[in-house]
Subunit: 549 residues, 2 copies
């Protein structure tokens, strides 16, 4: 089998104008970046948004990720290809990858095997520059804050809370001390965890983008009053920096299905969904929009519902929960080295992780659910049969998918099942009501979705809760915690019992319209591993990139 | 008169394919970014570089800049337009603007009035993302260094000299303390001052780019040995990040002349010229290539000759020195508020600054020189006559240019004079020989070009000189000093006497192949002014950017 980059580089891509034509878009609707990438123009986006939504919205989510790999992005791509192959008109709606993980452990985020979005190298590196624009807007605001203090501090900053950001896994920037104009401790977050990224992904249009940027809180005055970006006249220039980036990006899958890739907050430390603008655009361009929420359903899907859908009024028609036999065996206690062997007892245990996520999506969000089994060649017939029996015993159905090896035709069964289920009436609901207090909202999430006994707040978080009293009323919470566990402890697999969600820190994101609750030891700036992936990346004499994964 | 952005936004731009066609390029030679911007593909660049250079190369430089404005970029654009209008085939070759000054005092860098390159807003903001790519490559290397130390420090770093960079005027990042893995002081430079930017602009091709990136020195080991980027296997991934950016950008002037914009090191704190790749490409695409070196001839032109030309073998055919009556009166002692009044005695004094630069270009670099007088409406006939008489008394000629108000037809006289002079045989020379010591090279520059008595080195610089002994042999020097004076003191106008060049710090740029000598109080990270330009920038409801200058 070839590597992902070899498959991607061997593919013959269609001109992006042909992909646009499948969506009924003309060349004038596009701002192209070479032959194979484009942004939809703002005029086209505005025009589409004035029309009614016509698509069914399918949310692809997953069990808790493991070192074995689950394949949520490949399933989103494979399902889209399969729907198109089956004669439905489908469009994938995904996040853009962050540069940081490309040089770290995880690699890129464009799918894999024969279920990829392309051009893979461009998308995984700078793509159309959106994340650089977001970093620049974020860091312009930081420069304006410190510059304001340097030139006399007329706003009487007592404390600066705004942090800089960089689209890089740079552990050393987590905590830095700035020495000028006054010495204080601050740091960088990875761009995908920044509030500007969240705002970018939640704003309805350019005017809303500007409004939200203006109400970003950057610090507190000596009188204890919040100081906002608008106090520094920053929001206009920030919008100017984001204006082009704000237009959704159109690319294609290896099979020529259209895909909108736009925005990319991480789902562990941010809210985890592609931009609202892209989703709203997609819903006017196809009959089926397949979208993905990052990591497991406890993180991505919850925030998709309770943040993105809550703020926008959007509702999905159904959910697909992705699992692999290997990952479920891992949740059942098997170590990575032993995952290639059949192990029915371990699978029987690990199935509980899948059941919890399926239950959550159905009971707490009111969504019809299918299970997509992302098939590996080592999976035995007995394992698949055991899993299928379990899923069917819950009243759901299991669909074996081989899109990684076969492309869309490997996910045809799933596609037909999805197309049928999406037509059923659904009654999607949100997990908690706006009027609850922040601790009450956290408690609902922790108890009902994570299976936790309750929630504790650190002293710092308790102080921060008091500080944001009033300002945080009615806002949803964005939980930042490990993706590897239903709990906030990355080591606890499957469905942990007797655990408490400990909130270390609360950050008010006035512009994004949520409160970030940082739980456990999750970091808003990742680090690189001992052997970073960067060491394998090179450019050959013909200008071809090697070693990207 | 309309503002620059109003003129730019009112213009009807030609499709970039039409601009390319003027250069004999086909659509397949381009990687387009929308309708009006493109990169030349690497294959096209490689093909062109295999052909002989056919163009005359005209270097546009200037007197020392003043708050009155000189108009070097407008003259480069206006001269290119005028040459094309006169029936010559001309191409402008310029630097890309940095984002930092756009939000600070200076504003953008795309020319002004009717002598601009467009699309102005795109070029001044993210353009095709080149500077973001350079920042990312620089900062990946920094992350790899600290990550290496965190994971055990096998290379035994004793000292980290590599700094991070950001394309922003962010004073507070000049000196920061990093707290993890070990606490040490470091900082950010503006991207246009980074060694990666210099390497990007001096590399002959992708392979040379990788080689140079690999030999970047990032620190010193406990054994006192230099540690290079290649010791961290960083150069392949850095090249992957820079690969697309490395292709020159094609845009147009308001009159449809082609312009290559590529790379953009500042000329005060870096070497100040657009990329070598763009210049070499341009020389195969037109009969006249008009290029600009940043700030005054003491900085930009010197480094153009002694760094870019020395390393590449390139030689210009002639130089145009740009001056304004207002700026010369300022050098003659007139304050900004009084520049609108005729002042022949002050002009007679300030003319010395122009004479020094003209002499330098002729005597020390062996270049034929013309003087372009960038005309302002307040200039009196008597002032122009006095200036003309002076210039002619030195054996040169003066050409009054009104391209700012009139476009190319305002610079026709200059164009004809340039076309004639460029045909004359020239004998360009470099200022100093490779084998001189670093202090000797600095002394030649300071004495012959700046009119200084000599050079002093701080204790730090003396220690650094010893540390880089051997490694710096044969390398040219890149002087970082104020642009406002021939001396290193920004307050000393005209032709300062009795001054000494004081070198505060030396930085070895192994990859770029030069030693940076930081003189006086020049900063490699600028700050924002009290009223940053960002406060005036906004996006209106139609998505149009306002207030950019």
């Amino acid at each position: 089998m070839s590597s992902d980059i070899e498959i991607a580089q061997a593919a013959t891509l269609r001109p992006i104008h042909d992909i646009a034509q499948r969506l009924g878009l003309a060349p004038t609707d596009l701002h192209v970046y070479g032959q194979h990438m484009a942004k939809l123009t703002q005029a086209t986006v505005n025009h589409l948004h004035s029309q009614p939504s016509r698509a069914k919205l399918i949310l692809v989510t997953a069990i808790n990720p493991t070192p074995a790999g689950e394949g949520k992005t490949t399933t989103t791509v494979g399902l889209t290809d399969a729907l198109n192959l089956a004669g439905y008109q489908a469009l994938a709606c995904l996040r853009e990858p962050s540069l940081g993980p490309v040089f770290g452990m995880k690699g890129g985020a464009t799918g894999g095997g024969y279920a990829q979005v392309v051009p893979m190298e461009n998308i995984n590196l700078h793509f159309t520059g959106d994340f650089h624009a977001i970093s620049a807007a974020n860091n312009l605001l930081a420069a304006l804050v410190d510059n304001h203090i340097y030139h006399g501090n007329a706003l009487q900053f007592d404390q600066v809370s705004w942090r800089r950001c960089m689209d890089m896994n740079d552990r050393a920037l987590r905590r830095i001390t700035i020495n000028q104009p006054t010495s204080y401790d601050t740091g960088f977050d990875i761009t995908v965890a920044s509030e500007v990224m969240a705002i970018f992904c939640l704003a309805t249009d350019l005017a809303d983008l500007t409004r939200r940027l203006g109400r970003v809180q950057v610090g507190v005055s000596q009188q204890g009053k919040p100081i906002l970006a608008s106090d520094l006249q920053a929001e206009g220039a920030m919008t100017a920096l984001l204006k082009d980036a704000f237009q959704p990006n159109l690319v294609q899958t290896l099979e020529g299905s259209p895909a909108l890739l736009h925005g990319g907050p991480f789902a562990n430390i941010a809210h985890g969904c592609n931009s609202l603008v892209a989703t709203q655009t997609a819903l006017r361009l196809a009959d089926y929009v397949v979208t993905e929420a990052g990591f497991g359903a406890d993180l991505g899907a919850e925030k998709f519902m309770d943040i993105k859908c809550r703020q926008s009024g959007l509702r999905p028609d159904m959910a697909v929960v992705v699992a692999t036999v290997r990952a479920l065996k891992y949740h059942g206690g098997v170590e990575v080295a032993d995952l290639n062997s059949e192990n029915l007892p371990a699978l029987a245990v690990g199935i509980d992780n899948l059941k919890k996520h399926v239950d959550n999506m159905r009971q707490h969000f009111g969504l019809p659910v299918l299970v997509a089994l992302n098939h590996f060649t080592q999976d035995t017939e007995a394992e698949v049969a055991q899993l299928r029996a379990a899923v069917e015993s819950w009243g759901s159905s299991l669909h074996v998918c081989k899109h990684w090896a076969e492309g869309g035709k490997g996910a045809l069964e799933l596609a037909h099942a999805v197309a049928a289920l999406a037509q059923q009436p659904a009654n999607p609901t949100l997990l908690y009501e706006d009027h609850l207090s922040l601790p009450e909202k956290l408690t609902v999430i922790a108890q009902s979705l994570y299976g936790a006994d309750g929630v504790t707040l650190s002293e710092l978080a308790q102080k921060q809760l008091l500080d944001m009293a009033g300002a945080s009323d009615g806002l949803p919470v964005c939980v930042a915690k490990t993706q590897y566990s239903l709990s906030s402890d990355a080591k606890l697999r499957n469905v942990p019992q007797n655990h408490t969600l400990h909130v270390r820190e609360l950050r008010l994101s006035r512009g994004a319209g949520f409160v970030v609750a940082i739980c456990g030891d999750i970091m808003t700036m990742p680090g690189l591993p001992k052997q970073p992936a960067s060491g394998r990346i090179a450019v050959d004499d013909s200008g071809r990139i090697l070693g990207l994964s």
